[in-house]
Symmetry: C2
Subunit: 211 residues, 2 copies
């Protein structure tokens, strides 16, 4: 009898993937170590061999998923393009990213509200000087032209980000006023339409801002 003995000693990775899926789907409290082990195709004891506790496994998964989200945002805003172009690029790429990870926002938002300390690691990662430069200083002239004061930037940034994230987080709720969104394809089409809608919306609002 030939032993399979595949060189798939990537057991740890299999566990990590299984855990990512299940945590993302059911949250920390809803996830079961047994189910994670099952999906990874291993024994529960082996799970604890690689990740000693549920909390440790969760934190590892959470940090990776959280970074995935922020890296996508930061990478676009750090490019050397105009502010308006950043918004356009962001809405395009981030919505595509969300279509591929539709469950990510509710998961992150919920776990974060349950345990805000989870942000710590990412907070330490962020260089505020650089961040302020990326989203404000570097575009001071352009923004002044729109009548946007430094004071308004937080409002504007939250608005832009919410254009892409909110509909995914609130998807089920939105079906109350938009029943057709029940269908995944229609919802994705709606979100792709939203790229243009949001860009126009923001650009128009900026251009004609009362000063």
């Amino acid at each position: 009898m030939i032993k399979t003995s595949v060189p798939d000693s990537h057991t740890k990775e299999k566990i990590f993937m299984a855990a990512s899926e299940i945590f993302e789907e059911k949250g920390y409290t809803g996830a079961r170590m047994q189910e994670i082990a099952d999906r990874a195709g291993i024994n529960k004891a082996l799970l604890h061999y690689y990740f000693s506790t549920k909390e440790q496994l969760f934190k590892a998964v959470f940090q990776v998923l959280l970074k995935k989200m922020f890296e996508k945002i930061f990478s676009i805003f750090s490019e050397e393009i105009s502010f308006k172009e950043k918004i356009r690029r962001f809405l395009d790429e981030h919505i595509e990213f969300m279509i591929k990870n539709p469950k990510l926002p509710i998961f992150l938002l919920n776990e974060l509200s349950q345990n805000p300390a989870l942000l710590q690691e990412i907070r330490e990662m962020v260089n505020y000087q650089e961040l302020r430069d990326m989203i404000y200083t570097r575009h001071a002239k352009e923004l002044k032209g729109y009548g946007i004061r430094k004071n308004d930037m937080p409002q504007l940034m939250v608005t832009v980000v919410s254009f892409s994230i909110f509909p995914f987080a609130a998807r089920d709720m939105l079906t109350v006023i938009m029943p057709q969104m029940d269908d995944a394809k229609k919802f994705n089409a709606f979100m792709r339409e939203r790229k243009e809608f949001a860009t126009d919306f923001v650009v128009t609002a900026l251009k004609h801002r009362k000063k």
Copy 2:
């Protein structure tokens, strides 16, 4: 010894309140029947005397909280005022409502994504004919003036709603790019500023819409 025997046989209400708080805070899977009983100041057996199962208690609480949210939205959009005025009123009143119930959105969104069937009851409550009238038909002329086609309405409605809901749902996450929002007072001030910002933003975008 005088028995207290207060006429506070509103035990069921006390349970309901305690359950609302704890479910809202920890979600369905995170909540513990024992903790709910403790907060209501009663025995766990008595809890099951009034609400036979955790699921039943949860559904009762959830439906009430969900309705609270939708009623607030619907009531404003059913008033006899212009569309622009509806948006203004909505942003004002809904943001004040959210300041009083900041944990509501993440809770509703998360539980809904975990169990979409929870929407059923509210779906049956909604009259789509009336809803379409409220947010579109009744304002057909006004909307045409802005160059808003019937097709754009879903995008616009989602945008308006997200202005007030998203920051509350994403509050912890937002502190990564806005550390000062850690403070509740500053956050509320930010949201009150947002009323005007959002109204201007939407109105300006509408007024100068490319047609």
